[in-house]
Symmetry: C2
Subunit: 199 residues, 2 copies
C-alpha cells in the first residue's frame, strides 16, 4: 500500500472496516470508485450521507423510517391485532420478503445477551409492553433468531407479557424447505418431530 495516494489509502481503509470486506476486496472497491465518473461517485457518497441524515427509528415499532412512523405502521391495510417481534430491522425485511405476514412489527434492536452486556432494559421491550397494554393487540408472534440468545429473549418477553390478555406464539421450527433430511442436524429433526402437523 506504500505508494498509493493518501486519499485512496483512506478509502481502502474505510471499505476494509465493512463486514465481509477484506483488504483485497477493499482495494477492488476503491478502484471501482476511481473508475466511476464524478457524478456516479457523488451519488454513492450522498447515499451514505442521506441514510444518516434521513433515517430514524419508527416511534411505534423501531423499524427504520423517514418520518415519525414507518411505512408499515402508516399502512391502513395492515392488521393491527398482530405484532411480530424481531431483533433487527433486517429480520423484518426478510419476513416482509416472504410476503405472507400482514400484521405490524416490533423491533427489539438487539437480543438479551448477558455476556455482551445486553440486558432487557437496553431493548425496546417497555415500548412493546405499552403497545400491548394500550388495547387492540390480540397476538404477539415471537420471531427472534433461533439461537440461544434469541430463544432466551423470546422466553423473557413471553414471561413479561404473561399477565396481558394476549396470545404469544413463535415461528414454527422444523426442517427447511429445499433442504435434505440426511444433512439436517439432530436438533432440527427433534424440532420437526415434536412440532409435527396434521396433513
Amino acid at each position: 500500500m506504500s505508494e498509493v495516494t493518501r486519499s485512496v489509502t483512506e478509502l481502502i481503509n474505510e471499505f476494509a472496516k465493512m463486514p465481509g470486506v477484506g483488504k483485497k476486496s477493499a482495494e477492488r472497491l476503491a478502484y471501482y470508485v476511481l473508475r466511476l465518473n464524478r457524478t456516479e461517485a457523488l451519488v454513492l457518497a450522498d447515499a451514505i450521507r442521506n441514510v444518516k441524515e434521513n433515517v430514524r427509528y419508527c416511534r411505534n415499532c423501531y423499524n427504520l423510517a423517514e418520518q415519525e412512523e414507518c411505512e408499515i405502521c402508516r399502512d391502513p391495510n395492515r392488521n393491527r391485532e398482530v405484532i411480530c417481534v424481531v431483533e433487527q430491522p433486517r429480520d423484518l425485511m426478510a419476513l416482509e420478503q416472504a410476503g405472507t405476514y400482514h400484521g405490524l412489527y416490533h423491533v427489539l434492536l438487539g437480543r438479551i445477551a448477558p455476556l455482551e452486556g445486553m440486558g432487557p432494559e437496553q431493548l425496546t421491550i417497555d415500548t412493546l409492553v405499552n403497545r400491548v397494554r394500550s388495547g387492540t393487540v390480540r397476538e404477539i408472534v415471537m420471531a427472534t433468531n433461533p439461537t440461544v440468545e434469541g430463544d432466551g429473549t423470546s422466553l423473557y418477553i413471553s414471561n413479561v407479557l404473561s399477565d396481558c390478555a394476549v396470545r404469544v406464539t413463535r415461528l414454527a421450527r422444523g426442517i427447511t424447505t429445499g433442504s435434505m433430511l440426511e444433512f439436517a442436524n439432530k436438533e432440527v429433526l427433534a424440532d420437526a418431530l415434536s412440532g409435527r402437523q396434521a396433513f
Copy 2:
C-alpha cells in the same frame, strides 16, 4: 425490499453496483452504515468524495497521484534508469508490495484488446516512447498481465521500442499464465521480478 425506507433502498442499490457485492451483501453493508455513528458515516462518504476530487494521474507515468507527479516519480531514491510497464495502477501497487523493485513505472491504463475496441492508441504508449527517447532510461521491464492480451501488449511495445537504445525485459514466468497480477502473492511477484528475462 418493499418496506425499507427510500434512503436505505438507494444505498443498497448503490452498494449492489460494486464488484463482487450481491443483493444480500449490499443489505449487510447498508446496515453497517446505519449502525455507524454520524461522524463515522461522514468519514466514509467523504473518503469516496475525496478520492474523486483529489486523485488524478501522474503526468509522467499515469500512476495515481494527488499532485502533478506521483510519489514514486517524486522519490529521489528511485532508480531512473529502469521503467516497469504495467496495465493498471493496482498492478503497480501489487509490485510495490513485493518491495524488490526500486525503479520507476509506466501505467498503460489498459491493454491492447481488439475485441473490446482497445487499440494501442488508447493506451499511454506514446508517452512511454517519449520517456524512453528523452534519455536516462536503460531498461524497460514489461509487467503486463500474463494473459493473451497482456502478452500481446508487451510484444507490441517491445517492437515499438526496438529502435531505441534500451533493453526490454519481461517478468519471469514465475507468475502463472491465465491468472491476474493483482491477485498474485508478493513472494511470487518477487520471484518474477528477480528472474526477469530479455525479450
